[in-house]
Symmetry: C2
Subunit: 548 residues, 2 copies
């Protein structure tokens, strides 16, 4: 049996547009003489559709399109379709896989394990099915499972999340191959984990496995594609493209043969991060109806890296840098920012903020003299935010926020100031990783794209004279690991201290993190990179007490 | 048996502080000679603790305090305690009620129905228990259930959310009375629904019911207290205070006698809304460590109502109004704002925005002339936001945002401008309800607190000459019902149109709502009033397609 697998990039809620992609892939599959065409989890709505699922009209429309547009394609013994879709039964909604065959819905396979942690809210929408039954695909018995359904093996995971493992039942029913329809978002380390698990399952059940993943950026989440095929010996026989759409083909015979098929190469972590961010920027900007972006260029590392990413994602003609020097900007900042813009070949403008700053000072201090307090530091950041938003409003650019995860964590950023923007590109990148990415960018291009001086100078917000990040924060090589343990691993202060950090540093950092919750609640969506990003995956109270 | 019931206002995460409240209530109960003291759901952590539950140290600390501080209180045959707390068992976490008796945890009652819709995320943290067993409380058999556990009666609800009803099992085991530990947030209509359900259940099972609810504001949610006691005939025999703490007492004999006990009076809707918002403001401001608030006074109805609410919540000495006229402000706006401030007895300052506005125009237009475009309208709102944040940063006031639900819905508001603030007080009040509240405030005070002119003039943002809301939006008596059907009832455009609205109006409104999602994602937390507020209870994608 020859199967076509469609790794598509759907737009959330764009039922008709996504349907066109499905139909195009189906037609191409037919022209290639396949026996089955497979699509990802919730392929027509895109994943995650979130509360669109609560709109009755939305689910009805999805089913209507399946009935009126997809079912007829499969009539007259044309190849069946296996596709992820919502499914209502006895007043309950399921996340399901439908087999469309000969003009009818031949079988429905309902997801049994519903992720409801981290960024996932599936219990909010769907009912868990009790078990999964084997499917007959083009006459052959196969296990069909949806995303999380394969992630609970009790031999692989020391602490499985769920009480049951639907694969046990599926393979007990005699399945010899498994097709998994996924929408699995990227985070660091996920590729390796996926490949390890799939290889393990293939060996355990002596079954070929086809793992089909969604691709594309949807708000905070980037789905990396990288669909995988394993033979029944647990050998990788195909790895689809990462970060782009692909229609690929598998012969079921190959699932039970020795590996001999070529695969796309895997990538190292920092390359993955780079590609994730590029796709995240591109899809967020274009799927919200923008084509170009504007950002402030301070001469610092964060805005330099974001500008370089945006240039890769959108092309140099769609990136506008704004230099907004103040009386506290050092001479090298302007030069570094200009160097960057010229290295990238992007347009830039210089808009000094002194005029509005002085006007505010006259108004708020009764004279133009500065008080040099936190309020005035924030004011400078807010004037810059206003200028960027003004350009956005007048010229239809999306503003990119350039803050990194370390500063967002400790609140070393100004609400409505440098936090302004439609998308916070590197909001889930710790500062040390921003440097790593800068080095990677320069290496990749084989030249100095991010100016050497930007990489080498000590980080500074330049909101007062001779200000340095280290005046207010621990050095980043101390700060970042503490933040990692607290935010990504949920460790208590005691445990973090036991790893060898200064108790007062740990407690101070945690206090800063907790107290900055109100800022993060109003932050722009940030692209998720680590195992725990701020935003939908971390839900913290604001009005709370601090016991540390 | 005499039972003390503690309707307390915990601060989220303040384990030690909440413990002190628990101990104080227990001691007062003992001095009143009770046989049992009862506390609300998750009483020590406060509800909802959200992702604090994921910090291992947090749950361990809660249990440690129960073991070392509460259990010893109950030793030597002193009265037992029934209290809501997290409970870990076989690697799973449960939302439980613990019976602490004679220095030991005598029984654990685990919640079986976990709400995971609207603002609730309990499946994210807790495992569902299979069933609830009867408790022995001071020697008497009783049904103990936690919040949602009582909300699935198949005779009361036409479409029960869950497959099982734990009450059936509890009463089959011979319970004659039910104690429900709740943390049930307010929304319009909830009081009536609660009272109807409880009376129904009491009659159905011929059982006395004690319903104990948390009180207090926690971020978006306001818990109204209003704990209730019903006799086994379904008659209300006690209604505890709304919107404040109360320790009250119930004789179990009374649960099976004719009603003769006095109750606090119920309130009508708009009084409830008023009290909810006052408590929400007070608790959010104080629990985040602030004591005073600042807000812009435009002379319009929204800021007037928010100022009046803040004055009620915090006292006139803690409310500062800022008048920020622009060249487009009408003369009456200033006068109306001054009248309001004087009626309320709050302080106010005048900070005209013309200086910074002209400085921005020179910078961005190359001359001081205005382009009169949307960018400049937003700029004025952002200058005002900057001024308020400056006062906040310098003088430690919390900024209150004053936008209403109607404008937040359609995006008739400026991100980083009038949307700035720590709390969006009336963000879940449709414009028509803001007027209703203004009338209520004036009636309640028996004089013109909100100036008559503020109520009577047509709403305007005053960001350009002679601007009126109705230039851009349908009249609010058309807009508000459409928004209600779309946002609170999730109805499709087709269904809304079928109710008699202009198709083009409905589609236009829905398009505005969908396109403003990016603004709402960065909005300040808003106090929840309706059955569906923006924020944590409505989770929408931003980068999506619009099919209407």
């Amino acid at each position: 049996m020859r199967i076509a697998l469609a790794q598509i990039n759907p737009t959330i809620g764009a039922l008709s547009e996504n349907l066109e992609k499905v139909k195009t892939c189906y037609r191409r599959g037919i022209s290639e003489g396949v026996d089955l065409v497979v699509f990802t989890e919730l392929a027509l709505s895109g994943y995650p559709p979130k509360d669109l699922l609560l709109y009755e009209g939305f689910i009805d429309r999805e089913r209507e399109l399946i009935t009126t547009e997809l079912l007829p394609l499969t009539a007259n013994s044309r190849p069946p379709i296996l596709i992820g879709a919502s499914h209502r039964e006895n007043g309950r909604l399921y996340n399901a896989a439908l087999v469309l065959e000969n003009g009818m819905i031949k079988s429905v396979h309902k997801k049994t394990l519903l992720p409801n942690y981290d960024v996932f809210d599936e219990e909010r929408y769907f009912t868990r099915a009790d078990k999964l039954d084997i499917a007959s695909l083009a006459g052959q018995p196969a296990a069909v499972a949806i995303c999380e359904d394969i992630w609970n093996d009790r031999d692989f995971f020391s602490e499985p999340l769920y009480d049951t493992d639907p694969l046990e039942n599926l393979f007990a029913q005699g399945a010899r191959m498994l097709i998994n329809l996924s929408a699995s978002p990227y985070h660091l380390g996920k590729h390796a984990l996926r490949e390890k698990l799939l290889s393990f399952l293939a060996r355990k059940y002596q079954a070929g496995i086809i793992y089909l993943n969604q691709v594309g950026g949807n708000d905070e989440l980037v789905f990396d594609g990288s669909s995988l095929v394993y033979n029944s010996r647990g050998e990788l026989i195909y790895r689809a493209a990462s970060y782009k759409e692909e229609l690929f083909y598998v012969e079921t015979d190959d699932l039970f043969r020795l590996a001999d098929i070529k695969q796309s190469p895997g990538q190292d972590d920092i390359a993955e991060v780079f590609n994730t961010l590029c796709l995240g920027v591109k899809d967020y900007v274009t799927k919200t109806g923008f084509s170009r972006v504007v950002l402030g260029l301070s001469g610092g590392i964060d805005s330099a890296v974001v500008a370089a990413l945006a240039r890769e994602a959108l092309g140099p003609e769609n990136v506008l840098g704004i230099l907004m020097p103040s009386p506290y900007s050092s001479g090298h900042s302007i030069r570094d920012a200009v160097d960057l813009a010229e290295n990238l070949g992007i347009l830039y403008r210089k808009v000094p903020i002194e005029g509005p700053f002085k006007a505010y000072l006259s108004l708020l201090n009764q004279e133009e003299e500065t008080h040099m307090d936190l309020a005035e530091e924030n004011l400078q950041a807010r004037i810059r935010g206003n200028i960027l938003m003004h350009i956005s409003n007048r010229e239809h650019y999306m503003v990119l926020a350039t803050g990194n995860k370390s500063e967002l964590a400790v609140g070393y950023c100004t609400l409505y100031g440098d936090m302004s923007g439609g998308l916070a590109v590197i909001a889930d990148l710790p500062k040390m990783m921003v440097y790593e990415l800068a080095d990677y960018l320069n290496q990749m291009k084989g030249r100095e794209v991010i100016p050497r001086n930007t990489i080498n100078k000590p980080p500074s917000a330049e909101l007062r004279l001779d200000q340095k990040d280290e005046d207010s924060l621990p050095p980043y090589n101390i700060l970042d690991p503490i933040l990692h343990f607290y935010i990504e691993d949920n460790l208590s202060p005691t445990t973090i201290i036991s790893k060898g950090f200064e108790p007062s540093t740990v407690k101070g950092v945690i206090r800063m993190v907790d107290r900055a919750e109100f800022k993060r609640r109003q932050a722009a969506p940030g692209l998720r990179i680590t195992t725990r990003a701020f935003g939908i995956g971390r839900r913290m109270p604001i009005a709370r007490s601090y016991e540390y």
